[in-house]
Symmetry: C2
Subunit: 251 residues, 2 copies
DNA sequence: ATATGTGAAAAGTTTCACAGCA
DNA sequence: TGCTGTGAAACTTTTCACATAT
């Protein structure tokens, strides 16, 4: 069983040494940042900016310049020394690496509050991810269009996903339904799953799961609140008096 | 400016050597997993399970046993060799470490589709995170209760957040509004932000930002689809013929 | 006998610092 | 001169393997 990513976890793709692919291997962490660079670059392109330095781009993306350059080096050498990067060039190379040159048909399962929100994004953030199928168990919802797509019954998941060539399944069901929905998606050939249900999904190794877990995010923030409080409490003891931040509330 | 976490990124808390805190330092990645263990353990407790081994718990949490034990070792030694862990004991220690012994008042800004979904979670996944304030700019929404809380105008953000002692701000606005909303939250003393807007927020060092970025998640999945396709294409060439997976569609 | 807790090794990621090129 | 691209160093996280406790 493969384990799912998200929240700072790292790959455990087990087996598969990927031998000579080593050269082409892009660190998992870098992939996530490339997606961010892509958005920043797209925004710049829209504003007519056509060249950018690693310093500028890294600022806008919230990382440091060395990391940005290292990340970009994984996809090739597309900058000009002494000058910087051409925005359009970078955009197209990142799109290629991320596989955004083809469309990825998306199915959303569970048309509750969140499912509605997701379905209504329509085409999904950044496009290239058309939502082509919606599923629920609630009889009152079946056939009703949400964001332009009529809701299908969850029992038709296999047939509909195969027919519409769904490549990404989004699970927005209540927790108890999530594993069963996941199994059905997998048996419909879906190999990528984005899971919003607070459940650890068990999937075969060839399926990639990413999770978005509100409770976990909140708890991580809670941890930092607590840590901050601890630091504030002990700051008067062991500090050199220079960096008493952490209590500064209004900038 | 501090940079925000999420999607596999790692801390860059800059400065702050944290000297003698080294002993108490829990790796960022481990914190995220502790939250997952907590949920699994709570589920077990609800089902009347009261003891668990690292092997069982790690299975249920989707990690390996060694990692689980290492993670738990960061918070102390609460297991019994030759036996395992007491579920209740582990739950209470993880809750303590994550700062869940106190409530964290939450404000949601941007009551669109997503904001509605978030507000309606009511109490927020796993409780301990009561939603106490909602904000929007839309005059039609002001005063309307969503999930039991009336929507306030975004201009009142500072006053309301201070009054209700909001410690976590959730940004669910359209991208152009996000930075300005963030600035206002920060000036109301909010030090933890969960950002759903596809924007890189600039915040002072004492503010912790986590982001949930749909577009990035989809693009990471897209990358893996592409990588899989590449592997499948080149698998016939350099392989020993044993591990031709990646094409297995129905298990 | 069995399962934890943990040093030490391995793997992965970030930062440094500078050679190399426009 | 100025900024990219990248080896090598520093740091973090994961995995291993076994001493240790019950």
């Amino acid at each position: 069983m493969a384990s799912q990513r998200g929240e700072g976890e790292t790959t455990t793709t087990a087996a598969e040494p990927a031998d000579r692919d080593r050269a082409r291997a892009i660190p998992e962490a870098a992939v996530a940042r490339l997606a961010v660079y892509l958005r920043v670059l797209s925004g710049m392109a829209d504003q007519g900016v056509n060249a950018v330095s690693s310093e500028e781009l890294s600022q806008a993306a919230g990382v440091n310049a060395a990391k940005l350059r290292k990340d970009l080096s994984y996809i090739g050498s597309y900058g000009t020394r002494g000058v910087g990067y051409d925005v359009e060039v970078l955009v197209s190379h990142i799109e290629r690496i991320l596989g955004l040159t083809r469309n990825h048909s998306v199915a959303v399962v569970g048309i509750g509050n969140l499912g509605h929100a997701l379905a209504n994004y329509g085409g999904f953030p950044g496009r290239g991810f058309p939502v082509t199928a919606l599923f629920d168990v609630d009889a009152d919802l079946i056939g009703i269009p949400v964001g332009g797509i009529p809701v299908s019954h969850i029992d038709d998941i296999t047939a509909v996903c195969l027919e519409r060539e769904v490549s990404i399944g989004v699970i927005a069901t209540p927790p108890p339904a999530a594993q069963s929905v996941c199994d059905r998606l997998v048996s419909a050939g879906v190999q990528c799953i984005l899971n919003f249900a607070p459940v650890v999904l068990q999937v075969p190794d060839n399926v990639e799961v990413r999770k978005v877990d509100l409770a976990v995010e909140m708890q991580i923030l809670s941890f930092h609140v607590a840590r901050r409080a601890d630091e504030a409490a002990s700051v008067s003891v062991g500090n050199n008096g220079l960096g008493v931040d952490g209590m500064v509330i209004r900038p």
